[in-house]
């Protein structure tokens, strides 16, 4: 029993010994040369990695062979560089020479050679880190900056040029992750700008030879930048404050003058100001109702009337003896009224209020504000005239609004000037239409005074009072009662001008004015429709009750007198009534000396879309007017047709 117990440990021992005996010893594993480095191109070190040692103590040996020589040498120094390394000192180091290096691992059982490695010292240089890295804060006019300076590693012989190092440094703010790297070349100093005030910076430097490896980064140097106020920011703040200040001032001024600014930038859009015109109706989109509201019953007048009846009362407004005023006024009117110098096909009735074709035909939205403008101008003119001259009837009020009777359409008022141009006999001067223009305008202005004629189916207007233009004739005629005694027979001749092409240049006006003579040819004139030509143009001609004495061209014929509007038919055609025969042809460009604007408006009327007027020659005649007739002929309440609108 005891023997059995005693044999168990023995057995165990045997078992273990047997196991121990079975452990294999083998030759060492293959070592491996990991790297060789030279810090200064004068010495170098090689390291290897041992393989398995095979269980036995293993020794390592390094052998090398220089290029093209078969002598094999062993490593001179195994200890200086540490474990598993071989250090070649200066004497053993040759530059530009290939070393063929092998490491051998040997143990009791055998040896193992590593793979040979070729090494040229020149290419394995990895210097130490730069030394004495110093960072200082320096001041500049733009602010502080960092100056980093360092020295090459001690062992590298850069002074003699044996080794050339290039440097690199990196900077970052404390707390940041990204480094900012800078190449410094061969210099040993570097400046860093654009610092954040009050920041803490970290700086590191490293170096490399021109043909080797980068060294490790030097240990971090910390530097704190003092607080400073960047100049640029202060400038920007100043600029910002200043601009804000200016901005506020501008805003305040703008606020004060908001009205005038608004007026300047966004002129008020005139709305329709036709009496009897209902905006609401228009908005509702029922144009028929809108326009029907404007229709004045009793128009067109169907009763025939003689010349007297055709006389329309109006107030002639023009200034006596005051050319400047007239001129002024003309100018004034001119701006709005006048546009063309007789452009033949001027569809834009940018004429004065008196001339505007839209006067009669008041269509909503139609005059592009012209109406208003014209009105305004007419008003202005009127007012001017009011001031300048004394009216024989002083209480003539010029404002349209006053005068207009409710049933008088504004169109009518406005039509005046456009409709006619009274042509007193300014025979001495070839009266340019300007004169008549002027007169016409004046007539227009004065129109407001006229009560609606009962029979106003004619297109001709009777400038009964005769129009004195400008300085030449400083007379005014008021009302229809006044028939100028001096020219009993003269009739103001009217030119239907659908739109007056008046060329009221001051010059002209002056001329006209000066050319005015007041002899007595101031009478209202009738324009009569001569015929309707194939283009649907109404050819008008003035109706002369008596021939113009001075002129031999008068051809007052016995043509047709279509001066009365019978009505408007369904096709928007203006039906004119024949009355007297007037025969005059006006196709020639001659001017009647008596009546310069005789033909001005002839054929300016069209019943439908317009053709060019047939008046030629006269610059201010309606030759230029080629305005198509509006689709809808809006007849004024009193039966006057706005030729201008017809020509639209």
């Amino acid at each position: 029993m005891r023997r059995a117990v005693g044999s168990v440990p023995l057995l165990l021992m045997l078992f273990f010994i047997g196991h121990a005996k079975e452990t294999r010893y083998s030759p060492p594993g293959k070592p491996k040369l990991t790297s060789c480095r030279s810090p200064e191109k004068e010495t170098f070190t090689c390291w290897w990695e041992p393989g398995s040692d095979g269980g036995l103590p293993t020794t390592y040996a390094l052998y090398y062979r220089k290029e093209n020589s078969d002598a094999v040498y062993e490593c001179p120094d195994y200890h200086t560089a540490g474990e598993n390394s071989c250090f070649f000192n200066k004497n053993d180091t040759s530059i530009w020479v290939n070393y063929n290096i092998t490491v051998v691992a040997t143990n009791a059982l055998g040896s193992n050679f590593s793979d040979p490695v070729d090494v040229d010292v020149v290419y394995i240089v990895q210097p130490h880190t730069p030394e004495n890295v110093t960072v200082t804060v320096m001041e500049d006019k733009d602010g502080p900056f960092l100056r980093v300076s360092w020295e090459p590693p001690r062992k590298a012989d850069t002074r003699s040029g044996w080794i050339t190092l290039i440097y690199e440094l990196r900077v970052k703010l404390e707390g940041e992750e990204e480094w900012e790297e800078h190449r410094a070349g061969q210099q040993k100093m570097f400046n860093i700008f654009s610092l954040r005030s009050g920041g803490m910076y970290l700086v590191q430097v490293r170096c490399k030879p021109d043909h080797g490896f980068w060294s490790e980064w030097s240990s971090t140097t910390y530097i704190k930048v003092p607080d400073y106020f960047p100049r640029e920011t202060s400038v920007w703040i100043l600029i910002a404050v200043f601009s804000a200040f200016i901005f506020f001032i501008l805003t305040w001024i703008l606020n004060l003058k908001s009205n005038s600014v608004k007026h300047c930038l966004l002129p008020p859009v005139p709305g329709p100001k036709i009496k009897g015109f209902d905006k609401q109706l228009l908005k509702n989109g029922r144009s028929e109702e809108v326009f029907s509201a404007l229709v004045v019953p009793g128009f067109p007048p169907t009763t025939s009337s003689d010349c007297e009846d055709l006389l329309v009362e109006y107030l002639e407004v023009y200034t006596p003896e005051e050319q400047e005023l007239i001129l002024e006024e003309g100018k004034d009117l001119q701006e709005g009224c006048l546009k063309s110098k007789g452009s033949p096909s001027d569809s834009d009735s940018g004429r004065g209020s008196c001339d505007s074709h839209t006067l009669l035909m008041e269509k909503c939205g139609e005059g592009e504000g012209k109406e208003e403008k014209h009105q305004e101008r007419a008003q202005k003119g009127k007012r001017q005239q009011k001031h300048q001259t004394g009216w024989e009837e002083g209480d003539v009020s010029h404002t349209r609004e006053d005068v207009l009777s409710p049933d008088m359409s504004e169109g009518r008022v406005k039509t005046w000037p456009s409709v006619f141009s009274p042509l007193p006999q300014y025979s001495s001067r070839p009266l340019d239409h300007q004169g008549s223009l002027e007169t016409a305008r004046q007539l227009c202005l004065s129109d407001s005074l006229f009560p609606p004629p009962s029979t106003s189916s004619h297109l001709s207007y009777n400038a009964k009072e005769g129009l004195a233009l400008g300085s030449g004739q400083q007379e005014f005629y008021l009302g229809k009662k006044q028939t100028h005694p001096s020219n009993p027979q003269s009739q103001p001749r009217w030119h239907l001008q659908a739109h007056s092409d008046f060329n009221i240049s001051s010059m002209d006006r002056k001329q006209a004015a000066s050319g005015l003579q007041l002899p007595g040819f101031r009478s209202t004139e009738y324009v009569e429709v001569q015929r309707v030509n194939q283009e649907d143009m109404v050819i008008l001609q003035p109706l002369f009750s008596s021939s113009c004495q001075r002129d031999g061209h008068l051809q007052i014929g016995q043509g047709e007198d279509y001066s009365k509007v019978k009505g408007v038919d369904s096709g928007n055609m203006l039906l004119l009534q024949r009355e007297v025969e007037v025969k005059r042809e006006e196709e020639d460009g001659d001017r009647y000396s008596c009546d310069i604007q005789d033909r001005v408006t002839e054929s300016c009327y069209t019943t439908s879309t317009a053709a060019s007027s047939q008046v030629t020659g006269k610059p201010t005649s309606c030759a230029g007017t080629a305005m198509p007739v509006q689709e809808e002929m809006v007849l004024a309440a009193n039966g006057y047709v706005d030729a201008a609108t017809m020509l639209l």
Partner: protein, 236 residues
């Protein structure tokens, strides 16, 4: 006839007029030339400046040769063979030249010998580089960059040679020895029987040249140190 004779004289005169700058060059020997080989003027250049320029040249040549070698290696040399510098017994053509190969050796030799070493190196590489150019042109897909670089290097090498010669004259008061080393070891480059592949041969050539360029650069820099600060340089 007299007219043709006159014409000939005139022609000759015109040619003489056109070619008169050549007379100048003839009369002005190498020391008038700048390192880069420009003939325009002949300002005297100080020795330090000349040495600086020569060093710059050598630096640039080394850098470009390194780039060329890398390019070639990436393009044509299979990876396993890249690090083996001693390919099958290939030796650099300048092996035979008596050039110091360690710092201690270099520190012991004189300025004269340094310069001579440099000149030897430069002169021995001029022709092989031209040869390399022709072989590279035969490659199917040699990148233009590589070709341009090698071309550039061979041109610059010529100017480097001129500069070193001038430098020698200035520093050492020696005469023109330009032809002295040209025959050295030149023939070795075409005797490489072990080289089976021209690619490897060219690769070796480029590597050798790279190394030699570095040698030139180092020698010149050491020379400069000696010129400026003789005592500190020598002692290390």
């Amino acid at each position: 006839m007299s007219m043709t004779g006159n014409y000939t004289i005139l022609q000759g005169g015109v040619w003489a007029l056109l070619l008169w700058p050549c007379l100048l060059t003839v009369s002005h020997p190498l020391d008038c030339k700048e390192e880069q080989g420009s003939i325009s003027r002949c300002p005297t250049i100080s020795q330090e400046k000349l040495l600086d320029r020569v060093i710059q040249h050598a630096e640039v040549i080394y850098r470009v040769s390194e780039e060329s070698c890398t390019l070639f290696e990436e393009m044509f040399v299979p990876f396993p063979m890249r690090l083996q510098r001693n390919q099958a017994g290939y030796t650099c053509i300048t092996k035979a030249l008596p050039i110091p190969s360690s710092k201690s050796e270099i520190q012991q030799i004189s300025d004269t010998w340094l310069l001579h070493s440099v000149l030897m190196l430069v002169q021995s590489w001029i022709e092989p580089l031209v040869y390399l150019q022709t072989t590279l042109d035969r490659y199917d897909d040699a990148p233009d960059l590589l070709l341009n670089k090698t071309k550039w290097v061979s041109e610059k090498l010529v100017s480097l040679e001129q500069g070193v010669v001038v430098l020698m004259k200035k520093m050492l008061d020696e005469g023109m020895l330009t032809t002295a080393y040209n025959e050295h070891g030149l023939v070795q480059y075409d005797v490489q029987p072990e080289m089976l592949e021209s690619v490897l041969r060219d690769y070796m050539l480029l590597s050798c040249f790279k190394k030699d360029a570095h040698k030139m650069e180092t020698f010149l820099k050491l020379l400069k140190c000696r010129q400026t600060d003789k005592y500190n340089c020598a002692l290390y």
